[in-house]
């Protein structure tokens, strides 16, 4: 069984191929710009060097967020269209769980993604990638006050805390999620964890009006 893992939620193109849950090959490249332009080229490269075609994919794992709104949509659009074409479902995965898969760190991990203006996307995971504190969009200060005695993992740097740089363990992610419920490709939507600014403003306005 061939499985494909897709993650474009942060400034990385991460694509991994598995055969019977064993990592076959992967691409994990920093990509600050042109995610859309490079992503499909990397997919083609990965499949081609493993003598596989997209039609060989039996199972699709996709990171649905949180992270860069535009970034998430690149990998997810691809995955949704692939799943639609192959008539498959998709296993959604959190980017915060992906970060928590990091090798060389132990104990409970708090994954952090800078969401600007003092906010972070954050979640805590134990060493088996079980969620301890659910993923949320929260003020960093508030999150730190509630979550002590954890190690922080992030690509971003923050004042007052030291963070480890993630070293993603693709196999660990797939093993953790292999039995997770899959979602119909039509129904699957990104997990931004945050409304758009316009939606927040409208919501505030409606509350004020009431």
């Amino acid at each position: 069984m061939i499985s494909l893992f897709v993650d474009t939620a942060l400034s990385y193109i991460r694509i991994a191929l598995f055969k019977d849950d064993i990592l076959l090959d992967f691409i994990n490249e920093k990509c600050d710009k042109n995610m859309s332009s490079l992503f499909d080229v990397k997919v083609r490269d990965l499949f081609s060097r493993n003598n596989l075609s997209l039609n060989n994919v039996d199972k699709i794992y996709t990171v649905t967020g949180p992270g860069s709104f535009t970034g998430i949509r690149v990998g997810m659009t691809f995955s949704k269209v692939l799943a639609f074409s192959l008539n498959k479902k998709i296993t959604p995965i959190s980017e915060l769980q992906v970060l928590a898969s990091s090798k060389g760190v132990s104990g409970t991990l708090a994954s952090l993604i800078d969401a600007r203006r003092g906010y972070v996307y954050a979640g805590c995971y134990d060493s088996n990638l079980n969620s301890v504190i659910p993923d949320k969009y929260i003020l960093l200060e508030e999150f730190l006050n509630c979550n002590k005695n954890v190690s922080y993992i992030s690509y971003d740097s923050f004042e007052h805390i030291s963070t480890d740089v993630p070293d993603i363990d693709f196999e660990k992610i797939i093993l953790k999620n292999k039995d997770k419920e899959q979602v119909d490709h039509h129904v699957l939507t990104p997990n931004y964890l945050k409304l758009t600014e316009a939606e927040e403003n409208l919501r505030k306005k409606k509350l004020d009006d009431n």
Binding site: S37, R44, L54, V74, F78, K80, V81, S85
Partner: protein, 334 residues
């Protein structure tokens, strides 16, 4: 000759659309998922919300299009997509979907300029006859284009500031008409009289347009009347505004046709649905022996059928692209 079927995707603004077009002129099936009701709450298109709705709807639109056509992706000869101009986040969803389909089914990928799409919506009415002048009028464009043959575009003039659709939307807001305001301003204009004194927009020998002056004039007029405690007669103001802008667009377009010795005129873009514009052009073209083509109302706004029609010409020329295609928020038509 074997028939050519193109599967086209359009997502440049607030419509997620897919279509299958045969030989560049026959619509087999088109699906348009519009977001207007969502954006209406915000008084205009919110780009991030548009992008979010595109990804939520994309596979549903693809599936419905194939079902409607009773076809499989294997029956398709090429995948076409609007790569720009438009809202970058919205474009990216369509572009990524098209690239994925191109890779999965090993089909050539055709990048289509959004305005070329609007122009080729007319090819779904009847085959384009050359040379022609194309008037593109939409929320983002007001341009006069000379085409001596298929997929050859020479811009001979255009707006120096606001697009005609922008001016309509602004006037709609000022007179208190809800989004999307353009069609309602057009409707009100037909119920009113040209009673307000508004300046004629840029009326020179060029093929250029300027609508910022008349837009400001409408705003000032409304403010002044309100300060005096006078009620604005919306219908009359819309009629006065529409008469000025349609008047100058028709005048400059007819001048371009005469100067270039061209007898074929096509009108394209969202504002080509404007009743005032359609009616005036019909009368003027009939008077001057000009062969006028205007898309059906359903092809005036954004849709993938027009992208498939334009893509066919690129297909014939073998103008394909690789899967490193990127979306472009702005790009010249050439």
């Amino acid at each position: 000759m074997k028939d050519t079927y193109i599967f086209a995707i359009e997502s440049s603004c607030d419509e997620t659309s897919a279509s299958i077009i045969k030989n560049g002129c026959e619509e087999i099936a088109t699906v348009i998922s519009t977001q207007i009701s969502t954006h209406k709450e915000y008084g205009g298109v919110v780009p991030e919300i548009a992008s979010r709705l595109h990804i939520n709807n994309i596979t549903l639109v693809l599936e419905e299009t194939l079902e409607k056509a009773n076809m499989k992706m294997e029956d398709i000869d090429a995948i076409a997509v609007t790569y720009g101009p438009g809202l970058i986040g919205s474009l990216l969803v369509g572009v990524e979907a098209a690239k994925a389909l191109s890779m999965i089914y090993d089909k050539p990928l055709i990048p289509v300029h959004h305005i070329a799409g609007h122009i080729y919506a007319n090819n779904l009415v009847k085959p384009l006859k050359f040379p022609l002048i194309a008037l593109v009028v939409s929320g983002g464009h007001t341009e006069l284009i000379y085409m001596k043959e298929h997929y050859s575009f020479e811009r001979i003039g255009g707006t120096l500031d606001d697009a005609i659709g922008e001016a309509y939307d602004k006037v709609a807001r000022v007179v208190g008409v809800p989004y999307p305001g353009g069609p309602l301003v057009d409707k009100l204009a037909h119920e009113g009289e040209d009673s307000y004194s508004l300046p004629m927009p840029l009326d020179d020998d060029s093929y250029n347009f300027s609508f910022s002056g008349i837009k400001s004039a409408v705003m000032n007029l409304v403010n002044n009347e309100r300060q005096k405690g006078n009620e604005i007669v919306k219908e009359n103001l819309c009629c006065s505004f529409q008469n000025r802008v349609v008047g100058i667009i028709v005048k400059k377009t007819m001048k371009a046709l005469e100067d270039y010795g061209v007898n074929n005129l096509i009108i394209a873009g969202g504002v080509s649905a404007n009743k005032g514009l359609r009616e005036t052009f019909k009368v003027e073209c009939e008077k001057n022996g000009i062969d006028l083509t205007i898309p059906e109302i359903k092809y005036c706004t954004d849709n993938a059928a027009m992208i498939g029609a334009a893509a066919y010409q690129l297909y014939l020329k073998g103008r394909f692209c690789d899967i490193d295609l990127n979306a472009k928020a702005s790009d010249k038509l050439n």
